[in-house]
Assembly symmetry: C2
Homo-oligomer: 245 residues x 2
């Protein structure tokens, strides 16, 4: 571990060649809270793993508990069959926050927040941890919801694989600023600016087959129309953590 | 290629074990137009590649020309140094369209559109192709814009690497429907429904240092406030293709 950069282990992930931010490193950070904030604002991640040298980039829903990431899928999926033995993986979350139009092509960019997490992904075999995770996959997004649902059947549990990955290393990378033209280019008569991008919630669409008299449950209050998805997911994560404490 | 599934090569990508949709395969497709529509609605993708068995999942801006995908970055980045020789890669685009709350945990889901593309990623060495790509990285999003910008310098061209990848195989996977509860669960007195999710544009924020009298350029008309990012990017791709034809 000679390449380890010294960081405070209580607040930061260790830095090695694997997670060191190489490009535009002034945008990078190894801070736990910064990484968690980017993860917790997302429901969808992309997981990279390799089978016989062929990389796969798989989109999936995921959630976080402390420094452990979970995702799930069918026990028949390509990814999950290959994760049984434990395999190196990289789970990445990205948020696009704006398009940046500059006075030169080179300085065109985007505002974004991204977190890359490295570890060994493994199927959760422990029955208790798996059962807890099958509730968490609902409760992390909709705190308290699992208790009121039709219970999971043995067949469903068998058909579902839960993957866990301890974050061994991670990095956050953020661009959140105005147009970054070269100083001498600001004087050019060329338009430049930002187009902000937001991912927002629409009006809830109740299932057309709801039983008469069934009301919207309290956990839906976290997802009001017009809210950003990121804010709702951060609020849900906080409420979930309070419930679990 | 014994595992190849028969598809019409004029409209579909070849299917082998690499891109065959394994999980919930009724949501899958190998149709070129379906894959392109998902790609063209996005600016941000995730690329998976492996270095010495360690997978990386890197978020990056990208664009498409016919069946060729391009992305770019600093010539110093980790990814690009390893792509010089050509390396197997998987480029994935995902759009989250809605949260699906069901009457059982098992049937909770999300509405989404995702495309996975497989090929060999290579640095573009040809000077002419690289120069064209450095204009396209602007013009694909903002058709016609590159002609009015401060020209690219030799130093900028040297510092930028452009990666190209021919799509050898691809798959699209889409969920776009209501709550998919088990038939007998619809009778339960449990709330179920969809929270729609949309990625939308905000009001343009002009650079605070614009030269007096500089007007918004015509290419910005593709990005009106309130539009979905996906629609703007599809419109921009179409306008770009017309310009190139």
């Amino acid at each position: 571990m000679s390449a380890v950069q010294h960081t405070d282990p209580s607040t930061s992930y260790p830095v090695t060649d694997r997670n060191k931010v190489k490009r535009l490193h002034e945008r990078g950070s190894y801070d736990r809270a910064a990484v968690h904030a980017i993860l917790d604002a997302a429901m969808l991640c992309h997981v990279a793993y390799a089978i016989d040298g062929q990389p796969y980039c798989t989109p999936t829903l995921f959630w976080r508990e402390d420094d452990r990431l979970y995702w799930h899928g069918s026990a028949a999926s390509r990814m999950l069959r290959h994760l049984k033995a434990g395999t190196p993986a990289c789970l990445t979350v990205s948020h696009l926050d704006g398009l940046v139009l500059a006075r030169s092509g080179f300085n065109h960019s985007a505002n974004y927040r991204a977190a890359m997490c490295f570890g060994t992904a493994r199927i959760i075999d422990d029955a208790e941890e798996k059962a807890a995770a099958m509730r968490s996959v609902v409760d992390r997004y909709y705190p308290g919801r699992s208790a009121g649902l039709r219970p999971i059947t043995a067949q469903e549990a068998k058909a579902t694989a839960i993957i866990g990955m301890e974050i061994e290393q991670a990095s956050a990378k953020v661009r959140a600023k105005g147009v970054g033209d070269d100083e001498e280019d600001f004087a050019l008569p060329i338009w430049a600016g930002i187009v902000p991008v937001r991912t927002v919630l629409g009006d809830v669409e109740p299932c057309s087959r709801l039983v008469a008299g069934v009301e919207q449950p309290p956990e839906l209050a976290l997802y009001p129309s017009g809210n950003t998805l990121g804010q709702s997911l951060l609020d849900a994560q906080r409420a979930y953590e309070v419930d679990m404490a």
